[in-house]
Symmetry: C2
Subunit: 268 residues, 2 copies
Amino acid sequence: MGKMNDRPLILVTNDDGIEAKGFSELVHVAMEFGDVVAISAQVPMSGMSHAITIKVPLRVKLVEERPGLKKYLTNGTPVDGVKLAFNSLMEQKPHLLISGINHGSNSSSSILYSGTMAAAMEGAINHIPSVGFSLLDFDPEADFGPSCQVARDVIRMVMENGLPDGICLNVNIPAVPSGEIRGIRMCSQANGFWKEEFEKRTDPNGHEYYWLTGFFHNREPDGGGKGTDEWALKNHFVSVVPIQTDMTAYSLLEKMKTWELTGIKHEG
Amino acid sequence: MGKMNDRPLILVTNDDGIEAKGFSELVHVAMEFGDVVAISAQVPMSGMSHAITIKVPLRVKLVEERPGLKKYLTNGTPVDGVKLAFNSLMEQKPHLLISGINHGSNSSSSILYSGTMAAAMEGAINHIPSVGFSLLDFDPEADFGPSCQVARDVIRMVMENGLPDGICLNVNIPAVPSGEIRGIRMCSQANGFWKEEFEKRTDPNGHEYYWLTGFFHNREPDGGGKGTDEWALKNHFVSVVPIQTDMTAYSLLEKMKTWELTGIKHEG
């Protein structure tokens, strides 16, 4: 991006592919706030988590360029795209990274599988204030109007307050009309998990194979209570969870120092 | 696994592929402690993080069966393999999940990209005490003797003490002879990151492409001080970091509740 003006520089990415409606809408919101570099993959990368591409060469193609916007296509994962943008496509690091708007929830432990949130985490560990947005609606033609309004509010909030190094935001939006969104809640990650159901089939050659399907289980009663993202979403609030890339379980760390180890000398 | 006896049932997986020496050595260690189900991919899955396979069918093949061991091959990622084992291959959930021994470090923020540790995290969110092991040596023929001794100690420790729900262990082993390992340290995750360097090349058709390379940066002075995994490893200690799958940054959560939001009603 040339240094034509003093507008903030914003990197936009996603994991549903460059044709996704949620991506296109987020790019438009970002352009209200600054100059935008956008990068996405040809194909959806849902479930790619923090995967990086080591074994095949990465390709990048500039597919759209107009004042305030450069849009790139890549064969890489969402995290590859962020790395490429930081290292090869942008003359300077962006002031903000936003990812999404994802078609489908990334609340609770879904964050572990999410390419959308992995891109935001990649921003956070590179000192960039970063936010991932997800709408609880898998429909390719979902109404992103309320989500865009939420995105504007959160972007403004992050530009005003900044974010501590290594922490990004996981924003999920309930699939309800704008007037029915009851507000924005700061939440913790609910203690949920996906209960897998594999569908076992037999191919025309007689070999068995499996399709991964599954549905979400929330382990906490009442969705985990008022403090969790699952509870907020079920009650038509937007959930905002601050996510840290330091995954140390400090609660256990002190206790572990009393564990006895045999064989190899143990120093607490 | 049949219920022939009361031996613990242990699931072993990795992300370097079924032929990796570190996997084979860890399977042998596991067999000292219980009956083993092992699953791995045909090809290395390094850098696959918590990726799951949605778009192609998953295949599983039993490639070895003898008393105390069933070994499966899959085309899926490490996390797919764990999900398949829990849901389709094992008659009951295992008492322990161990992943590795990885060829190369998964300390500090490398955990975010690691298939080895994603498999352990998948165990943790499914209530299974889970540990990932990594040796700081990329050599396919690395000496895993000291690492196997560490694995025995840690497995014994986890079997005695258990692990809280949602927390697994990230164990990294320095690449030094057994006699030079100074002990085992309980650590926090160092504040490091990978500094990418993309190598830009031009293919025979004149198109540019990139290879992802990179090297690790530790941001903290002296490797982050005595408490971090990077410091421990540099000083020839084994590092054990408890890892939580709840990624909420509680430190920021309270502060965020004071942020003002415009546009949409904000309830803290």
